[in-house]
């Protein structure tokens, strides 16, 4: 596995006066599954389009396997692209669609037939070779598009929100299928999505986009547990943000003083010094709820009153009004239930919180 198989170096894209991608650096290793995650208009799709060659690069360089490909036309980039709307050729049968990239490469007919069959079997559509795309369901069409993008063994597979048009169940099935293909074939996949669950489920690394810049690029666990800034913390998952001032830093433990006088000890981003303004990001599922005063020794405590509980099937959402503001906790169904108006103490350990810059 060679590092830096694909490199984006100071890549910029302008549409007229609007800068959609700004000075972006990103390295992707061979065989890696990287998700580009972000709200719409954050530049993630534009970056993919530049990599595929559909959009020109305004500044910087895109390097594939040691060669700059800024000016290489799309049809010579050897990248399989899977589109959200499938982009199957409606006038060709399924088999013809999948054979298309092989024919374009002048592969002998006898070999084409075998590879098409293999690719369609891989996505469990071997029986539908003679149908037209219009006669297939959305999920089947997307599987054909996947087979078509993989059949010519491209150097990279690019996916532009490929599951966006599918219903939830099918989407989850396809997520697992794609992840399985990735592991089995050792593919390098760059996957654009605005669905954080999808990114968390499938990726080796997630690049979180906002305003044309990468906010954080790390493993799903890292991005979720240790967001690098407020945008990432809020965009991925749900979180409670508490504002305060750093009063002490000891190793990896930061002491944060809240306006009400409460002090919390928590892990956080490096580089904080006493006196800095900071935010504590506290995931709802990392908070424990106790009867008032019953919190164990050594954990951070905050008292409050339950104002709302929402039944959500597998868990309860409990809204607690505290001196530091409203905090949402996600409580396991096996724990005790809390009535509105009950006085409670919220508790969390230092490793359950994460301090970021405001």
């Amino acid at each position: 596995m060679s590092e830096n198989f694909i490199r984006f170096q100071k890549v910029t894209k302008d549409y007229g006066t609007v800068r959609v991608v700004e000075n972006l650096d990103l390295d992707i290793a061979r065989g890696e599954f990287v998700s580009l995650l972000g709200p719409s208009g954050s530049g993630k799709t534009t970056l993919l389009m530049m990599l595929a060659g559909f959009e020109s690069v305004s500044g910087g360089a895109i390097i594939l396997d040691g060669h700059k490909i800024n000016d290489l036309p799309t049809h010579r980039r050897d990248m399989g692209v899977v589109f959200q709307n499938y982009a199957l050729f409606p006038h060709m049968t399924i088999a013809k669609n999948v054979a298309f990239p092989l024919e374009m490469r002048g592969i002998p007919k006898a070999e084409v037939a075998g590879r098409v069959k293999k690719a369609l079997d891989m996505v469990q559509l071997g029986a539908l070779t003679d149908r037209l795309p219009g006669q297939l369901s959305g999920g089947q069409q997307q599987r054909v598009a996947l087979a078509r993008a993989l059949v010519f063994e491209p150097r990279v597979v690019l996916m532009d929100e490929p599951l966006g048009a599918l219903d939830k169940q099918l989407r989850e099935q396809m997520q697992l299928d794609i992840r399985d293909l990735h592991h089995r074939l050792g593919l390098t996949i760059i996957f654009v999505t605005h669905d954080q669950d999808e990114a968390l489920t499938m990726s080796d690394r997630i690049a979180v986009f906002n305003h044309g810049q990468i906010q954080q690029c790390a493993s799903p666990r890292e991005v979720y547990d240790h967001p690098s800034n407020r945008f990432v913390a809020e965009f991925i998952g749900e979180t409670n943000l508490l504002e305060g001032t750093v009063s002490a830093v000891q190793g990896e433990v930061i002491t944060l003083e809240l306006p009400g006088g409460t002090a919390f000890r928590s892990h956080g981003m490096p580089g904080f010094a006493a006196g800095d303004k900071a935010l504590l990001s506290l995931r709802p599922e990392r908070i424990d709820l106790f009867s008032e005063g019953a919190a164990p020794e050594g954990s951070n405590c905050l008292s409050g009153e339950v104002t709302d509980t929402v039944y959500q099937g597998d868990h309860l959402r409990v809204v607690v009004e505290t001196g530091a503001g409203r905090i949402i906790a996600r409580i396991n169904r096996k724990a005790s239930e809390w009535a509105n108006g009950a006085r409670v103490t919220l508790g969390f350990r230092a490793q359950d919180g994460w301090v970021i810059a405001p």
């Binding site: 559909f54 049809h75 399989g80 709307n85 050729f89 006038h91 298309f100 374009m104």
Partner: protein, 393 residues
């Protein structure tokens, strides 16, 4: 009120509502069409003057001299006729089928008027010849295919079989072929301009698309005569094109751009271009925009992507557009009449000549009918080809 009567009354009300349209269609479309078709195949000259003969001779087997009853009917018709001019028409018509009738009929008419019961063989021994009776039988029917055949430069010889007319006697077939050829040229030039135009219009968006579509629709919003007159001004010997080319020193003599096939094809292409562009455009607009991107990412050079993806997908629109343009072209009259020379007139001007100048309604109707059949055949093709291939399964 019962359900069925309520249904009947609502059906009746609906009928009243569509009645104006039905009456309009019947009066101004169906009835004239039937009249034209009837006119094209009817030839009542003989059957009107010789009604009893026409009724009696229908069953004659053509062997030997006709039975006395038929001869009696013939004598009775001659005796009953008072219109010498109509009888003259009959004589002419019969003479054109079998020469010798002119003198024979003259002799017979005066003989029968003197003695209504005279034996015809005594008047002239030619009445013993079956060929003359055959000519009467052939012309006795009120219906004829002579006009339709003449529209295609064909006729029936004395034996009744279809043959081509002598060369130089009629140019209808040649003009029909010229009409089809000119229409094909117009269709081709519409396709050459219209296909890339529609592709560009479908690929841009916003005001660019509005301008492109507006430009192509503009000819439809101007009067045909105004447009044709504009072309006359532009194309004439001292028109804009010739003036500028001579001013630039490209040519010394003015080019002949008008009163020839070039002017006709150019002006007709201009008028009919929307009928090519719009069907292709409407097909292309339904093609997802990223199919060409997909083809490129799969390794297709832009030219191959065009040939394998965009062109096949636009084919349905191309076929619709080509047939629309072609069908509209074969009926064109004003543009060839004003911009073409004598050798560029199309079949519609022949129809106009027959109906306006020589008042030969039957020939005008017959050519019109042939044009109608041609158009309907093309329409059937159009209908078949423009069906959705997936729905057609």
């Amino acid at each position: 009120m019962t359900g069925s009567s309520r249904f009947r009354s609502s059906g009746f009300r609906a009928l009243i509502l569509i009645a104006p349209l039905l009456v309009f269609l019947g009066l101004f479309f169906v009835w004239p069409l039937i009249t034209v078709i009837t006119q094209a195949v009817s030839d009542p000259a003989v059957s009107r003057v010789l009604p009893q003969t026409a009724a009696a001779i229908g069953d004659w087997d053509g062997e030997g001299v006709p039975a006395p009853e038929i001869q009696a009917a013939f004598r009775a018709d001659i005796a009953a006729n008072t219109d010498d001019q109509a009888m003259g028409d009959v004589t002419r018509r019969l003479n054109s089928s079998k020469s010798g009738f002119r003198s024979l009929m003259g002799k017979t008419v005066s003989a029968v008027r003197e003695n209504p019961d005279i034996d015809l063989a005594e008047v002239d021994k030619r009445w013993a010849d079956t060929a003359f009776w055959k000519a009467i039988q052939d012309n006795a029917s009120p219906y004829t295919d002579a006009f339709l055949l003449a529209s295609l430069d064909m006729e029936r010889d004395s034996a009744g079989s279809i043959t081509s007319m002598k060369e130089g006697t009629s140019a209808n077939f040649a003009i029909l072929m010229r009409t089809l050829w000119t229409s094909a040229l117009v269709t081709l030039s519409c396709l050459i301009i219209g296909l890339p135009y529609a592709m560009i219009a479908a690929s841009v968006s916003g005001w660019k698309r509005a301008v492109l579509l507006g430009a192509v629709l503009l000819p439809l919003w101007t009067s045909l005569l105004v447009r044709t007159a504009a072309w006359m001004i532009i194309l004439q010997d001292n028109g804009i094109i010739n003036q500028s080319l001579m001013g630039l020193g490209v040519i010394k003599e003015p080019l002949v751009l008008i009163y020839n096939r070039f002017g006709v094809v150019l002006a007709m292409t201009h008028v009919l271009l929307p009928f090519m562009v719009l069907p292709i455009y409407s097909v292309l607009i339904t093609v997802p925009g990223n199919l060409m991107s997909a083809a490129a990412s799969l390794g297709a050079h832009p030219v191959r992507a065009f040939l394998r993806v965009l062109l096949p997908l636009s084919l349905r629109g191309v076929i619709s557009g080509a047939l629309l343009v072609f069908m509209a072209s074969i009926g064109y009259y004003i543009t060839p009449a004003l911009l073409g020379g004598a050798a560029d007139q199309m079949i519609s001007s022949v129809i106009a000549d027959y109906s306006i100048k020589s008042a030969n309604w039957s020939m005008a109707a017959a050519i019109g009918l042939i044009l109608l059949v041609l158009t309907l055949a093309l329409y059937a093709v159009y209908n078949r080809l423009s069906r959705d291939p997936i729905q057609a399964r």
